[in-house]
Symmetry: C2
Subunit: 340 residues, 2 copies
């Protein structure tokens, strides 16, 4: 054995010791979770899949965990953050394309009339998304989205959107990674949009973000330098059945754990649970209007178009052994403390 | 500092020592490369991008290197391995769909007439690819492709195709990974096909294989168990401009190093070199008929339809500071020794 190989072997052994001791550590890896079935399910899952004597042990290279973003990792009410970006970005697009100024739905957005904007149809919103998310070089989009996300403030909490991630889910991400899991975001939101902040916000690099994605077109600028332009052509609608389809395209393995919060996550959770051995499927139920929001319509909660959680989904979860995480009962706290 | 954190810090320091010593080790990280500009370019690139005092230092999380597969990492002549799989798989498809038996091009393939098969048009081959690569559950495809690749033998070398990877490129993959680079395959071949053997053959997991990809469709079997079916719909044609487009879709970052061998890799190399700092772009020229194959038509080598390397590409490489790797002059050996 060469000195270098010996050194690596020693390091590998030390890593193994560290990981093992982290599992059995006295300190709680999920301090923002109340004791109960949801927290226990995560602890049991990690024990079952990482203890080498367990019949459900999973080899480290196969450990994949997927998380929906909006409503699962961070706040999605009253409106998806990406849609707020698109609405805010309409003036910049109109400055580039003045012919849109007097056309709907751009005219309504420019009017600033909040009531009228709230009434825009899905078709109107799609037109706004296409106009603000496509047609520009990928580098330009990235720079503009980054500038916005660094400055935008949520009106209820007066904090940046990137601080409105759920502390219990951040702990779950870390706990899974500390135990060898590769953590992925699998979102109905735009892949390129989420990639702008995923690394800084969740420790998830761009290549581990699977989202709704359009194509790009390769071309050259006046100096012959190549660049990619964002196309309006949809490649992957990463919602509903599109989630397992996107997981196959981008990851190529079935997850062992999946977290969601709405009907758009149903197929991802079904697909995850259909694998053999120990599989973890969890759904966040927003039932805490005081500390966050309350919406369903499952369990008699108010209905919503943003992050719908139907009673049918709730019943499927209970029937198939998925865990429902109650925002109200399972979470000791919702957000990380605001920085001083 | 808690005991656990201390343990991790100690391990991290040890890893750093190991990596540093591996870079400065007296033992050659590229023993199958002859000394010369190609080998030196790789050594210089690693030094420039991983030495923290270098002006071109690249943060570890940004270190991405992409490799074409056919003709770059393994043998592609006289025909792409995947096409051989598809031709071999025609009888199994016809057994499932007897109506194809008397239809062209399936009839010709079933005849076993090698001369007639060699004359099949691109359109014929596309029909065969669609029939043998789509329409089945992804798990079924994976099992069948794995069975084939484990058993198939190259007629010239009498060895499995997975042993016909280039030893110098295997060393380059390891050397890059030892220095914190994430290595990706970016292939015109089928993403799902390459994923079947990429981990075992190259140490590259499925999520780091970007290839030509069709969609899948989510559905349920008779027991209500979900599964994915491979669609004939093309999502990504990962050739030419499709390579940088695929890299953006699947990785979301520009590579720092890219390796190819044909005109299908041109845009990937241009895109890589267009980034700032130190970027490495390399092209394998197959100019060694004795030890492997010789084809171009660059540099007066015989023309080919499989892995075309035009003189125009050769000239662009020379002009733009890409390195051309001569199979004949830059490689001490071609393959790993056959196992005993």
């Amino acid at each position: 054995m060469s000195g270098r190989i010996k050194c690596f072997a020693y390091t590998a052994a030390l890593i193994a010791v560290c990981i093992t001791s982290s599992v059995h550590a006295a300190d709680d890896p999920l301090p923002s979770w109340n004791d109960g079935p949801a927290k226990q399910a995560i602890l049991d899952f990690i024990k079952a899949t990482t203890d080498s004597s367990s019949p459900n042990f999973v080899a480290p290279e196969k450990r994949v965990a997927t998380f929906d973003q909006d409503g699962t990792l961070w706040v999605e009410h009253p409106m998806y953050t990406q849609v707020l970006y698109c609405l805010d970005h309409v003036p910049a697009v109109v400055a580039q394309r003045p012919e849109l100024k007097d056309k709907e739905p751009f005219k309504t957005v420019l009017s600033g009339d909040r009531e009228a904007i709230a009434k825009l149809s899905i078709k109107d919103l799609e037109m706004i998304l296409v106009a603000t998310l496509t047609g520009m070089p990928v580098d330009t989009f990235e720079a503009e989205a980054k500038k916005w996300i660094d400055a935008a403030i949520d009106p209820r909490w007066k904090r940046p959107y990137t601080e409105l991630t759920y502390q219990p889910m951040q702990e779950a991400l870390h706990y899974l990674r500390d135990n060898g899991y590769k953590t992925y975001i699998v979102t109905g939101g735009g892949q390129d949009f989420v990639r702008v902040y995923s690394d800084e916000t969740y420790g998830i690099p761009s290549e581990q973000v699977v989202g709704t994605a359009g194509g790009t077109t390769y071309g050259y600028d006046h100096y012959g330098k190549p660049f990619l332009t964002k196309d309006p052509k949809l490649l992957l609608n990463d919602n509903n059945a599109g989630k397992p389809e996107g997981i196959h395209l981008m990851i190529g393995r079935r997850p062992y754990a999946a977290f969601g919060n709405s009907t758009g996550d149903r197929q991802m959770l079904e697909y995850t649970k259909a694998g053999d051995g120990a599989r973890l499927a969890m759904l966040v139920l927003h039932d805490d209007a005081n500390r966050e929001y309350a919406y369903g319509p499952a369990q008699g909660l108010p209905n919503t178009k943003v992050g719908t959680f139907t009673q049918e989904l709730y019943d499927e979860a209970k029937k198939d052994g998925w865990l429902v995480i109650s925002m109200k009962n399972d979470r000791k706290r919702i957000f990380a403390d605001a920085p001083d």
